[in-house]
Symmetry: C2
Subunit: 240 residues, 2 copies
Amino acid sequence: MLYLIGIGLCNEKNLTLEAVEAVKNCDEVFLEGYTSVLQCKKEDLEKIIGKKINSADRNLVESNALIQKAKEKNIALLIIGDVFSATTHITLFLEAKKQNVEVRVIHNASILTAIGITGLDLYKFGRTASVPFHKTDYPIEVLKQNQQLGLHTLFLLDLDPKNDRFLTIAEACDYLTKKGISPETKALGCARIGCPDYKIVYAELNKLRSIDFGKPPYCLIIPGKLHFVEEETLSFYEIK
Amino acid sequence: MLYLIGIGLCNEKNLTLEAVEAVKNCDEVFLEGYTSVLQCKKEDLEKIIGKKINSADRNLVESNALIQKAKEKNIALLIIGDVFSATTHITLFLEAKKQNVEVRVIHNASILTAIGITGLDLYKFGRTASVPFHKTDYPIEVLKQNQQLGLHTLFLLDLDPKNDRFLTIAEACDYLTKKGISPETKALGCARIGCPDYKIVYAELNKLRSIDFGKPPYCLIIPGKLHFVEEETLSFYEIK
């Protein structure tokens, strides 16, 4: 059996009771650490589950190795956030199904809904885009399409935890303005959403770029057309 | 302090360790039971947290009562799914902020990302719509807009747990076809996503309407333009 287990956004205490129970039942436990970054140490997770956790890089997860193991044993792959919030894990799920390996998915919080704390209506988000280190026009296309429809746009900022590189909110602001988005556009900079020390600031791109957001992960939201409740909630995060 | 605590999609084991810890710290605990429906009994939750849980209907949550209490004591409101996945709770959060009541949000899994298990890319969903008991054209407008852009559409089917009424997938299919959506349109019917006994079927609306999905909650997804990995995953749920 292959367990795909979402572990939430912040630390070892975001594990669900079901996740802890499932992991106790597993022969080997892996942690996927390349699509996001945890705010706790691997050791903190190990303490809670009482098992050694192996790091799984992209090569391992995208190879056939975990599925082969899961034919004989109970294998858990811990995934930061919710299991399918990073698109890459559906391939593993699909491959397991193809090879008749039973898969159990245990869900958890995802950045895609945790951003509801900004006050923006989650039903009124358009497409989501990553802003990658290597700049492309794709995020701009997504933004323009969403803006035309009055929808909110979530940008997830790229990360490379292995090399301790994180695209910053300042870099994302600069990227957008260089691509022709007005520096007076108001946006939400968000860091560590889902953690007790999360930070959200609402300001124009040219002001947002000089705010210190502390540690990653980061995202940036450009609101679309605002309802008055959304507007009022945003005002609590606003810096003028 | 007011704790807004997401409790996930299925049962008492979806509570996070952080949620259990927070609730233990609370003087009164309420459960919001009108925006979704749990697959476990209130008693099962009470056993895990070791406290009595009071039911909170819409009137209570939308009144000032919880905020008043939270000025003096630690109050927890348990919310099915993630805290802000139903738009209504942002108003409580906002009101607490206005009245200078400290709010702590504890996130959990939401239907909005748990549907990633269908194989559909969560980044390519357009606006989400509820299909209410009282039929309006709004869901159709949302669908058409998303379809034009090739985006996926999630419909959450209305529910009234107090009166044990749940809009069924058959009713939603009939609603769509009566509003002019072709009965040959392929859609995903989903029940109890997030539970071990979840059910997903991919078929034309006219076939989907006669499938027995078992217990609620339900949602319906009309896919947009499909990537081949999405297509391949959908085929595992397909009934022809």
